[in-house]
């Protein structure tokens, strides 16, 4: 675990993806959630030999397919045509989710609506009355990997906090998130509920505490 560090400006989405990619260990098996987490793959150097898993039944897929590469039978969990890398393998849905549920993936990177200080995750439903529910593989992904990282903005567009003492949206998983990678802070979570601050970008520790008065923060190494 590295030392606490801080910079003056928030991370861009690309910088954030790069920070996550650097934290992924060589030889890891990783599932990148649909949307922003997918961009992490842009920074996983081939030398690291990281293998990507997609829950619809494949290990070792490559970048999005283009032109003649496009094959309707080869898609990722976001239903986007992808490519095959050497060393890939195909398997069925029960085997694929057994792989996740059994703790064989090293890291899963997911988006979030809210995360609690104890690592509860809310990312599948805002609980809006009348909304049609849809969960997909979110709950399986949340609890499956050895480490679940959340990639998100620290605040909503309206400026509301997304890190809370308790989630107010319906939960996806309990105590499953071990790290939050956000534009303004990289935070380490555990069951103690005390949030370890590893990085701050364009926000001070005081400002972080002020924005989250009900959450206890400590810097890494403190």
């Amino acid at each position: 675990m590295s030392e606490f560090r801080s910079t003056d400006a928030p991370l861009t989405q690309d910088e954030l993806a790069q920070v996550i990619a650097e934290d992924i260990q060589p030889g890891s098996f990783v599932n990148l959630g649909i949307g922003q987490p997918t961009t992490v793959s842009n920074y996983l150097s081939p030398e690291k030999k990281v293998t990507l898993h997609t829950e619809n039944g494949m290990l070792g897929f490559g970048p999005q397919a283009t032109g003649d590469q496009i094959d309707g039978d080869l898609i990722n969990a976001g239903k986007i045509p992808v490519t095959e890398l050497p060393g890939a393998s195909y398997f069925h849905h029960a085997d694929s989710f057994a792989m996740m549920r059994g703790g064989h993936l090293d890291v899963c990177v997911l988006g979030a609506y809210q995360v609690s200080a104890q690592g509860d995750l809310a990312n599948w439903s805002t609980g809006k009355p009348g909304a049609i529910p849809a969960v997909g593989g979110a709950m399986d992904l949340a609890i499956g990997a050895k480490d679940t990282y959340v990639m998100m903005d620290l605040f909503t567009k309206k400026g509301d906090v997304k890190l809370l003492p308790e989630c107010t949206f319906p939960l996806t998983g309990v105590g499953c998130v071990s790290r939050i990678y956000s534009d303004r802070a990289v935070l380490l979570l555990d069951s103690s509920g005390i949030v370890k601050v590893r990085e701050l970008h364009g926000i001070t520790l005081e400002e972080l505490r002020e924005a989250h008065p009900e959450v206890t923060f400590e810097t890494v190494g403190a």
């Binding site: 309707g72 239903k79 490519t83 989710f97 309990v174």
Partner: protein, 253 residues
């Protein structure tokens, strides 16, 4: 007993009103579109359908729902940008929805096929989707008791079937097919290729014991497979093979 039939209509002709039908596919990959269309034409109604989604746009399962032929759907992700027929039926209270996390959906069908009466899954513990279900702490982890999902019929798409009904699939179109084949009393398969020779026994994904009805229907999968084989025969790499990782492509930009 295994039968090979000539048309999708014949293949689905046994499906009666009120049946539970497991329908394969994830996105368009592995969707048995021609079998679903035939089920539409067959007139069967009051169905319970198990599928990952709840139909898209104006095709296949979405049309079955539009025509109110589906009384209940068990799925993980009904809401999509183009799931308007489901959305309308659901809002009108004209379709029952059982929402199941995708991995539990697959494992519950696997349990049905494997003779397991129930299993403790960690997925969904502490969430709305586990409400009312038995929970248990085992070795410090929390689990929810999940029950098998059985089908009267499965409609799946494989790539090829041999004379014994053994199946192979193609890439990620494999998805729910092998599991659904084990979980249904009668499994109906559409394949691009009906083979005269036996498959290599080491490569069989679904053994013929799980297969009841096979119909050959050419689709885009066959076109892609022939392109791939032609490339390999010419000593070229598979068309779908990436030559660079995402990082290498990003670095070039």
């Amino acid at each position: 007993m295994l039968e090979f039939v000539d048309s999708a209509a014949q293949a689905v002709s046994r499906i009666t009103d009120g049946a539970t039908v497991l329908i394969g596919g994830f996105g368009n990959a592995g969707q048995p579109m021609e079998l679903i269309d035939a089920l539409m034409d067959s007139g069967a109604t009051g169905l319970t359908v198990v599928n990952n989604n709840a139909g898209q746009a104006d095709a296949g399962l979405a049309l079955l729902i539009k025509e109110r032929r589906v009384a209940k759907i068990i799925c993980s992700f009904p809401r999509q940008s183009d799931s308007w027929h489901f959305d309308e039926a659901y809002r009108a209270g004209e379709i029952e929805l059982e929402l199941v996390p995708q991995g539990n959906l697959a494992e519950r069908m696997r349990a049905a096929g494997a003779g397991i009466g129930g299993f403790f899954s960690p997925t969904g513990y502490g969430t709305q989707l586990a409400e009312g279900k038995e929970v248990r702490e085992i070795d410090g982890r929390h689990y929810v008791l999940e029950s098998p999902i059985r089908g009267d019929f499965a409609l799946i798409k494989a790539y090829a079937a041999d004379p014994a009904g053994n199946l192979v699939y193609r890439k990620t179109a494999r998805n729910f097919g092998p599991v659904m084949a084990t979980a249904a009393a009668h499994t109906i398969v559409q394949v691009d290729e009906v083979l005269e020779e036996s498959l290599n026994p080491e490569h069989v994904v679904t053994p013929g014991i799980y297969v009841d009805t096979v119909v050959g229907i050419p689709t885009e999968s066959g076109v892609k497979e022939r392109e791939e084989r032609a490339a390999l025969a010419a000593g070229q790499p598979k068309p779908c093979l990436a030559t660079k990782t995402a990082a290498e492509l990003a670095a070039e930009k």
